[in-house]
């Protein structure tokens, strides 16, 4: 009950903010504009999902950061932390709200792409392409990055840490994956190490797929992608568990 109430309150709080809808609108428009009406292949959907996902990463820290650190930053925490709630209720409700908000924001991407279908003469609608892009590419990325940004802001008690920490995380894993793939020539490991699957989808698959494959294969069901998702969801869960252990419903840090 308390967990649900914390989720509901946080979700509604951010859903009522103009900022949230602005993010949605931007993602929708960008996804719509990126769509090439002559090429709505599953590969193009995947590519656009990954690209708009990079844009989303600039918005996500605001969502995760404020869900995580608003209490401390508005100095509400003495009132909130003294209510009889558990750490799991509190962190769980807040995190889930941030994740669901982000997931809904990212829904603007397939919607934006679908809106392009309204034009006459566009290729047939293949729901599986959108579903797999959203479900396997966008959602796990949202989960991983929300977990990282949320945890940083909770433990450092400042929303802005979400931004810097999130960007740092993004740059670091991207660089490591790049070095492993291009310098050490271990592409299968490199594919695993990039939680945004940017490298895999935008570079490796783009270079190796034949036009026929691009039109037919559902990227989201590629083995290398699925392995990557599983690995990083595991990492995200571990990060959340760590946060739960370290977090204190108390006055001071740590």
């Amino acid at each position: 009950m308390k967990y649900r109430e914390i989720f509901r309150f946080e979700f509604m709080y951010q859903a009522r903010r103009v900022r949230t809808w602005l993010y949605f609108a931007v993602l929708f428009v960008v996804a719509h504009q990126l769509r090439d009406v002559d090429n709505s292949s599953p590969f193009a959907s995947a590519q656009e999902t990954v690209l708009t996902g990079l844009l989303w990463m600039l918005m996500a820290p605001a969502v995760a950061g404020s869900a995580a650190a608003r209490d401390v930053q508005t100095r509400m925490h003495p009132l909130v932390y003294t209510t009889p709630i558990s750490k799991a209720d509190y962190l769980g409700g807040r995190f889930l709200a941030a994740f669901v908000l982000n997931a809904l924001l990212l829904l603007a991407v397939p919607l934006g792409m679908l809106a392009a279908l309204l034009f006459p003469g566009v290729k047939p609608f293949r729901p599986a392409a959108y579903l797999s892009s959203y479900g396997v590419l966008a959602l796990p990325t949202a989960f991983i990055f929300t977990a990282v940004q949320f945890s940083l802001a909770v433990l450092k008690r400042r929303a802005v840490v979400s931004y810097f920490g999130g960007v740092l995380f993004f740059v670091t894993v991207g660089a490591v994956a790049g070095v492993v793939t291009n310098v050490l020539h271990m592409p299968s490991l490199g594919k695993l190490l990039d939680p945004t699957v940017r490298l895999n989808v935008l570079v490796l698959i783009a270079d190796t797929f034949t036009p026929l494959e691009m039109n037919t294969v559902l990227i989201g069901l590629e083995r290398s992608i699925l392995a990557n998702r599983l690995l990083w969801i595991g990492v995200a869960v571990a990060i959340l568990a760590f946060t739960h252990v370290r977090f204190r419903l108390g006055h001071r840090e740590g």
Binding site: E5, L79, V80, T83
Partner: protein, 224 residues
């Protein structure tokens, strides 16, 4: 406070967190508390637009959810305008009828207006524990005032147990503690709680401490 939410919905949220899960009970409690804290008319307003005093009262409303038996308020009137301060003290005194309110403040007037019992704490030590009215009474006839120039102050402090000095219309008004009249140039002053406070705090560390102690500290043994 979260700036972008109304008092009503935030209080309702807190009610759930405090375990008042049944919707109708919650609506009732929330309404009662908003009325009690005089926030009912502004319940739909966003907290971001609340004044300091309104926020304080909202904080009390949150604290009162689940009817606590003991409430500790730390410097509640700091930064409030006079009207808000009076309203807040009235609220606290009302709460004091049903539960224990522990008020920590450095504003002496708060204590004299509100408290039935008080303690003066300095550096972690309780120097005096008394009823404010009784403590003031104890000082009756022992506080003297003298209007002096600033230069004469050091000498006065050597001779007498000066407990406080204040500027009044550009002149220095000194309050002195003395069991009998300290001499010419002094007139009896009507003691107030501030005199109690200063005589306990200021004279503690001076050679006059021994004089003041018996009059006030006697109570400590009786009541403490």
């Amino acid at each position: 406070m979260y700036p972008k939410v109304s008092a009503e919905s935030l209080l309702d949220h807190f009610a759930v967190l405090k375990g008042i899960t049944e919707r109708r009970a919650r609506t009732e409690v929330v309404e009662a508390l908003l009325r009690k804290t005089n926030l009912w008319d502004v319940r739909k307003q966003k907290l971001g637009g609340y004044s300091g005093g309104m926020r304080q009262r909202f904080g009390v409303a949150v604290a009162l959810l689940g009817s606590p038996k003991l409430m500790i308020v730390d410097e509640p009137t700091a930064g409030l305008d006079p009207a808000e301060r009076v309203r807040f003290l009235n609220l606290l005194s009302e709460l004091g009828e049903n539960s224990v309110v522990l008020l920590s403040t450095h504003i002496v007037d708060d204590v004299s207006e509100l408290c039935t019992r008080m303690a003066i704490i300095d550096k972690g030590e309780i120097l005096l524990e008394a009823e404010p009215a009784r403590a003031v009474e104890e000082l009756q006839g022992r506080i003297w005032r003298s209007v002096i120039s600033a230069e004469a102050l050091p000498e006065l402090e050597r001779e007498h147990a000066v407990i406080s000095t204040k500027l009044y219309a550009g002149r220095t008004v000194a309050h002195v503690y003395c069991d009998s009249t300290p001499g010419p140039g002094f007139e009896p002053a009507k003691p107030d709680l501030e005199d109690v406070y200063f005589s306990v705090i200021r004279l503690r560390t001076t050679r006059f401490g021994g004089q003041v102690a018996p009059a006030l500290s006697a109570r400590k043994g009786v009541e403490g």
